[in-house]
Subunit: 404 residues, 2 copies
Amino acid sequence: MREIVGELVPPNRVLLTPGPSCMDPRVYKALGAPLVGHLDPWFMGMMGEVQELLRQVFQTGNRMTYPISASGSGGIEASVLNLLEEGDACIVCSNGMFSERMAVIAERATPNVIRVTAPLGKPVDPEDVRKAGRGKKIKFVGLAHGETSTAVVQKLGDFRKVADELGALLVVDAVATLAGLRLDVDREQIDICFSGTQKALSAPPGMAPITVNTRVEDAVRARTKPVQSWYFDFVPVMNYWGKERTYHHTPPIPLIYGLREALRLVLEETLEARWERHAQNQAALIAGLEAMGLEMFVANPADRLVTVTGVKIPAGIEDHRLRQQLLDEFNIEIAGGIGPTKGQIWRIGLMGYSSQKTNVLLVLAALEKALLDQGHRVAAGAGVGAAIRTYQQHTQPAVAGARK
Amino acid sequence: MREIVGELVPPNRVLLTPGPSCMDPRVYKALGAPLVGHLDPWFMGMMGEVQELLRQVFQTGNRMTYPISASGSGGIEASVLNLLEEGDACIVCSNGMFSERMAVIAERATPNVIRVTAPLGKPVDPEDVRKAGRGKKIKFVGLAHGETSTAVVQKLGDFRKVADELGALLVVDAVATLAGLRLDVDREQIDICFSGTQKALSAPPGMAPITVNTRVEDAVRARTKPVQSWYFDFVPVMNYWGKERTYHHTPPIPLIYGLREALRLVLEETLEARWERHAQNQAALIAGLEAMGLEMFVANPADRLVTVTGVKIPAGIEDHRLRQQLLDEFNIEIAGGIGPTKGQIWRIGLMGYSSQKTNVLLVLAALEKALLDQGHRVAAGAGVGAAIRTYQQHTQPAVAGARK
């Protein structure tokens, strides 16, 4: 026999990237709960609880609300492939790598994908979508509520109205936003909304919660051909997650345990308090970064994604060396740019359980050290000092989660 | 706020179904290891370890060996969709629900799916495949090594030779067999082989380990159109699991931790010892069941799948009531029939960590009680007594896993 690898001993990181985020100890505990079968009556009852928790977090009454057994990108794929048939046209608001991914995936199903773009670091203007779609038969308008590659929030604003004018469904990628900022699926009349578990929900990575309204159910039933993907086809999956609980595939049971606990934590904290916590911690982070002389990538404060902050890398600083130092010396992971922002920015995530005062202060202090080590001048303690001052007006509890 | 669901308290089941199987405590521990980012240098190194462990278990040198972030059915979908383009023909050996699933998935990609069938409870004859394919251009021949819906093993025998005659690739669904019975990907010259984590590997459900040789890599590169599914496309996924580690999607990190530990356990035990353990425990189970007057669904012992045993439900016994009693009174889950065998058989899985002497004796005793309670006559202790006697010739250690 060849050599066997050693024991699993991961480093204990503070995860300040656009995901995965750190998990509450209660979520770790749930992961290790006794495994049961996916057709066990107990498990089938528990699935209904997870669905109800998801409905509350999505703020929807949609029957068809469940976690897809795939990553957030699986959520894109399921949404797009279920709606499109060969020849259908759709509009995708493409203002970064993840919104562009929706366009790329759509192109595998139909040649008629219309992209409406925006300059890097800006949201798409709904008026541009109106113009692009005028006179065309559009199946759906898709956008990323949070575009993590550029740290931009795409406000939903007039998109529903524009989609209605075009007779189109509205598909919202909320991978980076659900439970981190205000999102109300029913009030905004979003037709398909999906997320990822490892972002502001702080559940383990590996699932894509999705909610789909009856207009979409009707559209899928009206298809002339079944979806090419059996795995992502809404119809059979909903027979499993629906009332029938007809076996489709074996779901990742421990991840569902973890998701259930993470959703309980969200609702114990309340959505409103969670949104406020994310906003406060980002405000402190930005105050600190700016006090250290760093510049935000997204110029307009109203366009900044609250869960992920984009910071320009100062001239003369080596990106990779700095991030490696944060890992090696402080066990902190922040992200570099990705796609069009690669090498130009850092992306600091404050999502879910990671969005804590202690992490804000820690990352500012660690950045100060790493910048100094590369010869960049920073006023002593300026970042931490500025962050602390923004907290003086608030009474946020020490740790996110169950404590009230 | 509406009511929040209570604490997660799953029942502590003995899982004797065709999956998921029980997990070793070391695998539970691995699930709860500190979460890291999927682009963390430590994680990227660990991915290489998991790939090397998988190669040893598949017995292959294939570069392209990795766990797909989806259930075992995702393994079917990835295999079939990557190989097929519209108009291609393939042959699927369909002798039960899971092998038939490969045909169903293939039909979403091409109309030219040729099924070669066998009577329920029997394997497909390779000679029938030869006849069905003669004179046709066949892209691949697909089969399920273990068909869990009928508890039949499909020996690989002449399939490689037949596929070669047809100029076809050979695709083997080893979801129910990998690490439970002899399977040597390179020696058998299997082109694509995939499995599921929650069966004889006794890792958590949610991933589909797959291995693909260079003939398949070439076939995928020669496609005229990309695979419709972005999620299951081999090309970008292999840039992440390949040398480049280029980000594709966020994998289910805790499941990879669990898989890594489960694979270590397999190799510590050794494949040969594991296969022998599975064979011995099934022999004891069958001896016990037959001593209780029960009849095997698969008549020919050579056709029986060692990981899942199919038992005919005796006349007069209520299937659902009996299985519910096993759950309620003994915390044991066995499976009923599925698809064409629904209501006709029980399927008792002894897979991975669940394949233990103690479980064999326990399920025989519990079955005796449940049969008696429905008025079925069973000689006192006959099942347990017969099983014990088959063990007298063996010196299997008490618990599967690390201990030698």
